[in-house]
């Protein structure tokens, strides 16, 4: 009851204080960036960040969360209509979404995507919001060692889910942790890695790292590549939406249930963003769906599973951020940065006073409204949204660079920060070129100070005893999960190799 009461208060807060405008702007921006291949959800949030500097914390986070939410959905439009996936998580849409469209069922495919986004968004948000208070209470019992273990789990999960090359992910993570140590240390006041440069004495703001790596670095990567042919965008298309009947929805209830549970639970795992969730949801359908043999030829299940998985992951990421203060993805790392820029530290203490609790539940309420809003907007404006593809890539690159530079400049009115953007942009480009994942670095930078302070405090209070990180139920569990997360890629890779060698033997 308390949750419902707080949610209703939050909704009133949004409507009465005019935050609805920020919500709608966020939804539109999220749709626009996710439709455009190469722009991406994270970059959309990065580019919107400077506009939040002069806002209060609630509208800022509402806008950024709306970008995140609608960003996991709108990319399916271009996947279904033009065979161009706006976001990596929309790739599975090509297999069944575009094939439905090719079979003359465009409106039905768009309808299934909309219904899936709606169900995935609402159910996972409701589930995770219900977990917020228990999670917050649990987090209040955390000692510094528990916090370190929780952060450690976050970092190891990101590394384990970063792809085939775990070495590259580790190196990225360690570089991120090192970047976070630059400047004056908070316990001893000692200067570290400043090289007598006044620019580095106050540390490297992680906004600079985020914007540089995700914004400027991405532009550098794109500018060197062959542009995509968007010639089909000008062709006349039907963009109306046909909703499935209740019977049709009931017929695929197992898919709906599986994907919603999977999306929500995977969303909690740090590093398992919309893309991983979307692919795993599709993979599970491929194995367990009644019509698995026909999957890929244009079945609703092939749209429903990845779309629900993508949208459900948003709530899964947002609630740990708000209740524990631990971001699990690039997008939530930037939202954390937006909180900190406003002097608010997300975490269990955010649920301790009535005022801050209202802030949290206003954001939760906005997530429900964002789901409804993005479905309404998409129903009305698909044709307008996909026109974003007409913007020349060169113009888009210039706009992104300007937003990246000015957004960082606006933070501290410092040209030096703009120089750092160029440095991190070049690093981001090098990471892309040599296939080092960026997310571990970014999370290392964001979580580095928390990891270090909890590590130092634990070591000082336990007389440098390393076992302090293991001998407790909470930290012991987190550490065991961390170990499992580290072993996961090793086991996965060896199983895959064994499978491929076995299949090769069979074919021989």
């Amino acid at each position: 009851m308390e949750t419902l009461h707080l949610l209703s208060q939050g909704m009133i807060h949004i409507i009465a204080d005019g935050y609805l405008t920020m919500l709608v702007i966020g939804l539109i921006v999220g749709m626009a960036v996710s439709v455009m291949p190469g722009l991406g959800i994270v970059m959309g949030i990065v580019l919107a960040l400077p506009f939040t500097y002069s806002m209060a914390v609630e509208p800022s986070i509402i806008m950024l969360t709306a970008i995140y939410m609608s960003g996991t959905y709108a990319g399916c439009f271009t996947a279904i209509l033009y065979r161009i996936p706006g976001e990596p998580n929309d790739i599975p849409m090509l297999w069944d979404g575009y094939n439905m469209s090719r079979n003359g069922q465009t409106a039905e495919a768009l309808g299934w995507a909309l219904i899936s986004a709606f169900i995935g968004g609402i159910v996972s948000t409701a589930f995770m919001v219900g977990l917020a208070i228990p999670l917050g209470k649990l987090a209040l019992q955390f000692s510094t060692a528990d916090y370190f273990a929780a952060v450690f789990l976050g970092l190891t999960s990101v590394v384990s889910l970063a792809g085939a090359s775990i070495v590259n992910a580790f190196i990225g993570l360690f570089i991120g942790l090192l970047i976070s140590t630059v400047g004056v240390d908070s316990i001893y006041g000692s200067e570290r890695f400043t090289f007598d440069s006044p620019i580095l004495v106050n540390g490297i703001p992680y906004i600079t790292v985020l914007v540089g790596m995700y914004g400027f670095g991405e532009v550098l990567t794109r500018i060197g590549r062959k542009p995509i042919n968007f010639s089909k965008v000008g062709e006349p298309i039907r963009t109306n939406t046909a909703f499935p009947s209740l019977k049709q929805i009931w017929d695929i209830r197992e898919t709906l249930l599986r994907s919603t549970v999977l999306g929500t639970l995977l969303g909690i795992v740090p590093g398992a963003g919309a893309t991983v969730t979307s692919f795993i949801a599709y993979g599970i359908e491929k194995q367990y769906s009644k019509r698995r043999d026909l999957l890929g030829s244009g079945l609703p299940e092939g749209i429903v599973a990845p779309q629900i998985g993508s949208t459900a992951s948003v709530a899964g990421h947002m609630v740990p951020l708000l209740t524990l203060g631990i971001p699990g993805s690039g997008a939530t790392a930037i939202i954390l940065a937006a909180f900190l820029l406003h002097g608010v530290q997300p975490g269990p203490l955010l649920l301790s006073t009535a005022q801050s609790k209202l802030t949290v539940y206003t954001i939760f309420a906005s997530m429900f409204m964002a789901v409804v809003g993005m479905c309404l907007l998409s129903f009305l404006w698909i044709r307008v949204v996909v026109r974003v593809l007409s913007i020349p890539p060169a113009v888009l690159a210039a706009v992104v660079i300007m937003f990246s530079l000015l957004g960082t400049y606006a933070n501290r009115n410092s040209i030096s920060d703009m120089m750092l953007i160029v440095v991190f942009g070049a690093l981001g480009y090098a990471f892309e070129k040599f296939k080092f994942p960026i997310s571990p670095l970014v999370l290392g930078v964001v979580l580095g100070p928390l990891a270090e302070s909890s590590f130092m405090q634990t070591m000082i209070s336990h007389d440098n005893d390393f076992t302090a990180f293991f001998n407790g139920p909470i930290r012991g569990t987190f550490m065991a999960l961390s170990l499992a997360a580290l072993l996961f890629p090793v086991v996965r890779n060896s199983l895959s190799r064994r499978k491929s060698s076995m299949s090769q033997t069979v074919s021989d």
């Binding site: 291949p37 190469g38 991406g40 065979r83 996936p85 990596p88 599975p92 090509l94 297999w95 094939n99 792809g163 085939a164 090359s165 070495v167 590259n168 580790f170 190196i171 360690f174 090192l178 140590t181 000692s190 200067e191 570290r192 890695f193 550098l220 500018i223 060197g224 590549r225 995509i228 590093g271 919309a274 991983v276 692919f279 491929k286 890929g296 030829s297 993805s329 690039g330 020349p392 890539p393 060169a394 113009v395 210039a398 660079i401 300007m402 530079l405 040209i415 120089m419 070049a426 892309e432 040599f434 080092f436 994942p437 997310s439 590590f455 130092m456 440098n464 890779n493 895959s496 491929s500």
Partner: protein, 227 residues
């Protein structure tokens, strides 16, 4: 997860699409048995190993630096150098691991150098989306954009925001391959005015006005735009 850069159109034919034949969550290179048997040339392996070598060298240098941190040491208590040293040691270990994988085991999964683009997606954390990255074909454009941005930051102080941004936008759009010059001119002009207005009016940032005589132009524009 972030972007994946340009995304190429994918063959939607269900008979050729990956989900028809294999679980989509399997990393793309795992189904490539040749990966373990075909060794890349030494030059390619050197290029592939360069990031790890640089990482190890940089980490060793920083470790030396970390030993010189100045602070009041308390007996029996770890200092501000403990955490960075721990991270640096782990970095060195990871770098050595990468070097061994590249040179001894010739594991092309460590990075994509010398390997087809089909490794890129899974390495970036996107399982089985092997075909979505386009290869780089204009490296000169990348360097031009980097140099142009540095030049922009340098001239910003002298020419002021409006004039520098106009030149910079035109440069980046041209570098990006856009060749409709009339549009290029107007996009740059209105783009710089747009950014000036947005960042002064909405974000409340004071932008550089430059030195004389450029500052006169900047001030006149600010007055005209009522900013």
């Amino acid at each position: 997860m972030p972007h994946l850069g340009y995304i190429r159109e994918v063959d939607p034919d269900p008979m050729s699409a990956p989900p028809q034949h294999e679980a989509p969550i399997a990393p793309a290179h795992d189904a490539d048995p040749e990966r373990q048997t075909v060794r890349r040339p030494l030059r390619t392996r050197l290029l592939a190993g360069a990031p790890y070598i640089i990482t190890v060298v940089a980490a060793v240098l920083l470790l030396t630096k970390a030993r010189q941190f100045e602070f009041d040491r308390v007996p029996g208590r770890i200092g501000p150098d403990a955490w960075p040293k721990l991270v640096l040691l782990l970095t060195i270990m990871a770098g050595v691991w990468g070097i061994l994988k590249t040179f001894l085991f010739d594991d092309a999964s460590s990075n994509g150098v010398g390997k087809q683009a089909d490794l890129t997606a899974s390495d970036a954390g996107q399982p089985d989306v092997a075909y979505i990255d386009e290869p780089e074909i204009h490296p000169a454009r990348v360097w031009a954009a980097l140099a142009g941005t540095l030049a922009y930051l340098w001239i910003l102080h002298y020419l002021g925001f409006f004039i520098s941004t106009f030149i910079f936008l035109a440069f980046v759009i041209y570098t990006g391959g856009y060749r409709r010059f009339t549009w290029l001119f107007f996009i740059s002009l209105f783009g710089s005015l747009f950014f000036m207005t947005i960042f002064v009016r909405v974000v409340y940032v004071s932008l550089p006005i430059g030195i004389e005589p450029f500052s006169t132009v900047s001030l006149a524009l600010l007055a005209i735009l009522n900013l």
